[in-house]
Amino acid sequence: MARKKKKVPGLNASSTADISFILLIFFLVTTSMDTDMGLARRLPQPPEPNQEDAQIDVKERNVLNVRLNAAGNLMVNHDFIDINQLRARAKEFIQNKNNSPKLPELHAKQIDLLGTCYVTDKHVISVQTDRGTPYNVYFLVQNELVAAYNELRDDLAIAKFGHPYARCSEDEQIAIRTYYPQKISEAEPKNYGGN
């Protein structure tokens, strides 16, 4: 009369899958995998309170004036141009390949890894907007200017180091940044042609 061993009834786990499915679907719906992207810019430091007029004299040839009016029209120095031409124009300005007297002055500069180079390190690209300028035009202009710098840096990196800027080592990147420093200044907006 050996008794049958008492069996512990197994816990029914078949619904665990359903429960975890529900949780899974919840997270699937609420998740946003997109990493936030954007155009990174750096604002200038705030002016000192006792600083009256911080206007640093910059030679006219060293400045590329980019102006945007309330209608979203683009003016570079004294020409109306289309947004598609801006990148080429900015590259020409930053490089000054032929040492033109109208483009920024070239200075001899000793740069680690690159030796003595002639660079336009005093150039400034000044972006001036109207209070009514649409944001997307302003954004595109900023995008094109950053693109001009990025293309120049990439070209230089490939010519000197054989790989694009993003794959350069820390020191190489510093050298290239010294060669092409990013100088985009933003002036206070003015009312061009009113609203």
Binding site: T31, G38, G132
Partner: protein, 151 residues
């Protein structure tokens, strides 16, 4: 012989590992998920650009939303451009308090980044006002939020 005679039942497919499998996927999503902690009161379509950088260090990012009020709120708030900080509408000068308040919650306030999610049809006037306040509050790293566009 007896072996062959035995009934050949198809072994049942075991599903006992299914919950584990699903749990693994679940944990993956739990980790990568980032829930938006504010309800949007403005609607915006960010511009598209090519020279974008990823926002690193999520914990050091604060968001400023700029755009017209959402459709539900338009009846009360009108359709003018508004700034949203946290859960409410704000004026440009309130950005300074917002920056200071965000800074206290950050592990590394020096690398604070302001992500500006601005509707593409906004006029620059209000953006300039915000930037001016950001400069004064020493929040100099900004990021114009955008979507990627093919060349």
């Amino acid at each position: 012989m007896a072996k062959k005679k035995g009934s050949r039942e198809l072994p049942e497919l075991t599903t006992s590992s299914l919950p584990d499998l699903i749990f693994t996927i679940l944990f993956f999503f739990m980790i990568v998920t980032t829930m938006r902690e504010v309800t949007l009161k403005v609607k915006f379509v960010v511009p598209a650009g090519t020279e974008l950088e990823k926002l690193e260090k999520k914990s050091c990012v604060s968001f400023i939303y700029v755009g017209p009020p959402t459709d539900q709120l338009r009846a009360q708030m009108g359709s003018g451009t508004r700034i949203q900080l946290n859960d409410r509408y704000a004026e440009p000068r309130e950005v300074m308090d917002f920056v200071a308040q965000e800074r206290t919650t950050m592990p590394d306030p020096a690398s604070q980044v302001m992500s500006m999610k601005i509707d593409q049809h906004t006029q620059m006037g209000i953006i300039t006002d915000i930037k001016e306040v950001l400069r004064k509050s020493w929040a100099l790293k900004i990021n114009y939020s955008a979507t990627r566009r093919g060349n």
